[in-house]
């Protein structure tokens, strides 16, 4: 059924902000140990984040999380005792905020409100965590005295839900995964001159999976040989991803997950990756044009940024919003907002503003109900694109995409760079869009110039 197209933004749920913290959160918040209470960072307006990898922390007062997809809640690993400096001169061990996001299965789509009680800001993760109950029902066997069995059970249940490939809320993501992994494989191989027919073509590459969720994409990329760093702002997702990665030793050795936002990771200044992949993320961010430069800054020289999202077309509304949320009900209503979908032209414009150029793009669609997805020429609903650093002269062939799809004509356009003063208004940009991957069809080489004014 066409409703299956939707669900991929299931990842969406992880970005959805819940309403006020649930009563469970408040109820289980515990008093701060003295050292934490005195931490100057325990203020209502600051968002303190401490990382297990002891990265340099940003100045918390100025780095208000943008309303993009950053949730104020981050946490480090559960039992790790690595202490991190929060930049304020005090040392905390693992910390988290009180208002940890509810499970991605929640249906709330309204914005999350920051928990303002300073005393409840910093809570040790290792004891009890203020997390709302999710679908956990079976007590898990805890290992180690510092692990809350309820926590472990919740993560285990969530991991099981994420990785139930045949049914459940994340099954559509599993159906989508083969198509996007094949695209990443072919695109990176073409961009970096790798051997696409090798069993592990991405060996030696460092990849960043932004919004990794339960690790569906990260694990697949790890099997292709890459060293994958998956980040997500929702702790539950990261825990679920770690749990599942542990079930296969080969994958476990190649992935690592962290609860951190892309902004914070970029701000640390030390993270550079051969490829950054933001799959099913942009359409859930309120200011994607602010996120894009952040992602671009994480890409190393000669690297690529791959983005998959949903197009803003009538067809996409019919399938991904109406069909998926109301007819087939594969995702909760409100998961996707049509106005936040991004057309390939807009993506190209955003890319251009951070010095990237859209090189390849391909559509993704299911072959049939209950079947895995495949790459197509039709970008009208789901599509994935490769953005490379723009060279001085465009080397990529100017080829027009075929398959107009429902109302989307991504014609070949030229890139012209303009100054960006005053924000992104009044910028004329034309994007040269190359051919799509995945289908070997002869494409006509027509060159059409179009000018678009960015709104």
């Amino acid at each position: 059924m066409s409703g299956h197209r939707l669900g991929l933004g299931l990842l969406a749920a992880s970005w959805q902000k819940a309403s006020a913290p649930s009563s469970l959160q408040r109820a289980t918040a515990i008093a701060l140990p003295a050292e934490l209470a005195s931490c100057p960072s325990a203020s209502a307006s600051s968002s303190t984040r401490c990382y297990s990898n002891a990265a340099k922390l940003p100045d918390t007062s100025s780095s208000q999380p943008t309303d993009s997809f950053v949730s104020p809640s981050t946490a480090s690993t559960t039992s790790s005792h690595v202490s991190a400096s929060c930049g304020h001169g005090c040392t905390h061990s693992t910390l988290t905020r009180a208002h940890v996001l509810p499970s991605p299965l929640s249906t709330n789509s309204s914005h999350h409100q920051r928990h303002t009680n300073p005393r409840l800001h910093l809570i040790r993760t290792t004891s009890t965590s203020a997390t709302p109950s999710s679908s956990s029902s079976s007590p898990a066997t805890a290992r180690g005295a510092s692990v809350d069995p309820r926590e472990a059970a919740k993560f285990a249940a969530l991991a099981a839900s994420w990785w139930c490939t045949t049914e459940g809320p994340f099954a559509p993501l599993h159906a989508l995964n083969p198509a996007r992994v094949k695209y990443v494989r072919q695109s990176l191989a073409a961009a970096m001159g790798l051997d696409v027919g090798a069993p592990e073509p991405l060996a030696g590459l460092r990849l960043l999976d932004v919004g990794c969720g339960g690790g569906i994409l990260s694990e697949a990329l790890a099997r292709l040989g890459a060293e994958v760093h998956g980040i997500d702002v929702t702790r539950e997702n990261v825990e679920a991803a770690r749990l599942h990665a542990g079930t296969d030793p080969r994958v476990f050795s190649r992935v690592r997950y962290d609860v951190i936002s892309a902004e914070d990771l970029a701000a640390s200044g030390t993270a550079m990756y051969d490829a950054v992949i933001a799959s099913e993320v942009l359409e859930h961010v309120s200011k994607p044009h602010q996120l894009m430069p952040v992602l671009a800054s994480l890409v190393a020289e000669g690297g690529a940024l791959l983005v998959s999202t949903i197009n803003r077309t009538p067809a996409a509304w019919a399938v991904a919003v109406a069909g998926a949320e109301y007819v087939a009900r594969v995702v909760p209503p409100g998961t996707h907002k049509w106005s936040k979908f991004i057309t390939p032209e807009e993506m190209a414009i955003m890319a251009d503003s951070c010095g990237l150029q859209m090189w390849h793009a391909a559509g993704m669609a299911p072959l049939g109900p209950h079947m895995s997805w495949t790459l197509t020429n039709d970008l009208s609903i789901n599509y994935i694109a490769t953005l490379l650093r723009r060279r001085s002269e465009p080397e990529m062939g100017a080829e027009q995409e075929e398959g107009a799809g429902a109302g989307v004509g991504v014609a070949g356009m030229e890139v012209q760079e303009r100054e960006q003063e005053g924000g992104q208004q009044q910028q004329e940009a034309q994007v040269e869009v190359g051919e799509q991957l995945g289908e070997t069809r002869e494409e006509e080489k027509q060159h059409q110039g179009q000018e678009k004014r960015q709104s």
Partner: protein, 517 residues
């Protein structure tokens, strides 16, 4: 301590016929634990015993899977183990008289053999046939197929099973894959993870999580095979290729449905008065009798007969056995007068329809050099090599072909009647589809044992093909069992009609030759 559960999620409603336990249609979780659960897989799998694919059973189909995996670049790096309880040989020396167990290989299977790199060896030791004739004993209808009408040089070949097996094992050995053969190795226990895959990590919580260098200390979500010598192999996918009485399938808790045909198949190697390149099959009241050409002028007999008759046949000496065969093959049809033509018997029974058939039959009979006209099979002289042996015939199909990290191939998934010689061809089809599914999985970075991939890319297409073929064969068999005169005449009429209408006749041949993907 840890209970491993497997969830059955039937994708296509499986047919459940035995004793009304139709739980295969119910959604839900069932516990499928192997007979001995000696603990969860908590130990980190030692690198030596860690495999990607473990094929249990080194027969024709198991060897085909191994050879196909080794033949493709994407799957070559998978570490494959082939296990069998008895040592198997990858070298074949033709005996003076061909072995009793032979198989008919269709062109579809020939392509699989070519892909696996085993076709040259098989071609050298097998006998091709260009024609096939099927006729009745209760009526005088017949169908005769000719490969040339489909533009092919042969309809298939007949090869000994040991030749096929050794050729495939040799191909697997010399392919570029990492294939290890382990025999003798008996599987004592099988442990499969649950459908979610993460349930294995339920209890780990934070035990050594973020700082753990490997998966040591936490249960892994892979499958485990415990061998009789105490070794425990961990693998991402277990392929059960151990035949109709598959122990792996039993250990996994998969039930089968089917029935015994109440017949035994008598096999013998015989010599004939003159060589033939035709596969002959006559449907007797007791069951089909097939005479297939073999290498070096020999032929193979496969006679489905009731247990009583089978026992008698086994006791016969070489010449008496041949006499019984000749009588069965050459006796005139019981419902027609000797020497009467097809047209007269049909028209006498069915009036106008019969006359239509008669005219068609006349037209067909008069066309060409009698390519579709009835021919008498060659005279059988005596059996050679070993005395005839028999084996029970049954239909046995597994309710599911896959579970998380488990796939059934060949007779372990579907044992069928030897009628039409389709048995091993279905198995080779399984191997081809499974290898293709694994290729696709490696390309997309999926786990080789991923349940969804196995369901969508292996089980669904194979179920369709196998059920279609089984239904067709079973239908044909039952259609030919009826001996009452009117039905027999109708059957003869049907055969004649099919025989006389070229496209229909050739269409059937194409289906039988190519099989379904």
């Amino acid at each position: 301590m840890q209970r491993l559960t497997c969830t059955i999620l039937p994708k296509l409603g499986s047919i459940s016929r035995n004793t009304g336990k139709a739980t295969s249609l119910e959604l839900g979780a069932r516990a499928f634990c192997s007979s001995n659960i000696s603990g969860s897989g908590t130990a980190a799998p030692s690198p030596d015993d860690s495999y990607d694919v473990a094929i249990v059973g080194g027969g024709m189909v198991g060897a085909a899977v191994a050879a196909l995996l080794g033949a493709s670049r994407l799957t070559q790096q998978l570490r494959v183990a082939v296990l069998d309880v008895k040592p198997q040989s990858s070298s074949y020396t033709p005996r003076p008289v061909p072995d009793l167990r032979v198989s008919t290989i269709t062109p579809g299977s020939i392509r699989v053999l070519q892909q696996a790199g085993a076709w040259e060896a098989v071609e050298a030791g097998s006998a091709p046939f260009t024609n096939m004739q099927v006729w009745d004993s209760a009526s005088s209808g017949h169908i005769r197929w000719d490969a040339r009408e489909a533009g092919a040089t042969q309809m298939g070949v007949v090869a000994e099973n040991v030749l096929l097996q050794s050729a495939l094992l040799a191909a697997a050995e010399r392919s570029g894959g990492r294939i290890e053969f382990m025999w003798p190795a008996e599987v004592r226990a099988l442990r499969l993870p649950a459908a979610g895959g993460a349930a294995g990590g339920a209890g780990t919580g934070a035990g050594g999580a973020g700082t753990g260098a490997g998966a040591g200390g936490r249960p892994h979500g892979l499958a485990e095979l415990e061998l009789a010598d105490g070794r425990v192999l961990t693998c991402r996918l277990v392929v059960a290729a151990d035949g109709a009485a598959s122990k792996v399938r039993q250990m996994a808790g998969l039930r089968t449905w089917g029935w015994s045909y109440g017949q035994r198949g008598v096999v013998a190697t015989v010599t004939t008065a003159e060589p033939s390149s035709t596969a002959w099959q006559r449907f007797l009241p007791t069951g089909p009798l097939a005479l297939l050409p073999l290498r070096d002028g020999f032929s193979s007999i496969v006679w489905s007969s009731p247990p009583q008759l089978a026992q008698e046949l086994e006791q016969l000496g070489p010449r008496e056995f041949a006499a019984a065969i000749n009588k069965a093959l050459r006796d005139p049809p019981s419902s027609a007068l000797p020497g009467s033509s097809f047209s007269s018997s049909a028209s006498s029974l069915l009036g106008p329809l019969g006359s239509l058939a008669a005219s068609l039959g006349a037209a067909a009979g008069g066309s060409g050099p009698g390519s579709s006209a009835f021919q008498q099979p060659p005279l059988v002289v005596e059996w050679a090599g070993g005395r005839p042996r028999s084996f029970p015939l049954q239909l046995k199909q597994a309710g599911r072909f896959v579970l998380p990290r488990l796939a059934l191939v060949g007779d372990a998934a579907h044992a069928v009647h030897p009628l039409a010689g389709q048995g091993v061809n279905l198995g080779f089809g399984d191997a081809r589809v499974l290898a293709e599914a694994l290729r696709s999985a490696v390309e997309a970075g999926s786990d080789p044992g991923d349940y969804r991939m196995l369901c969508d890319s292996y089980e669904a297409p194979r179920r369709r093909s196998v059920l279609a073929m089984t239904a067709a064969m079973d239908g044909v068999k039952r259609a030919f069992e009826v001996q009452a005169a009117p039905f027999a005449a109708l059957r003869g009429l049907g055969l004649g009609l099919i025989n006389s209408v070229g496209p229909v006749r050739n269409g059937i041949m194409q289906y039988a030759m190519m099989g379904q993907s």
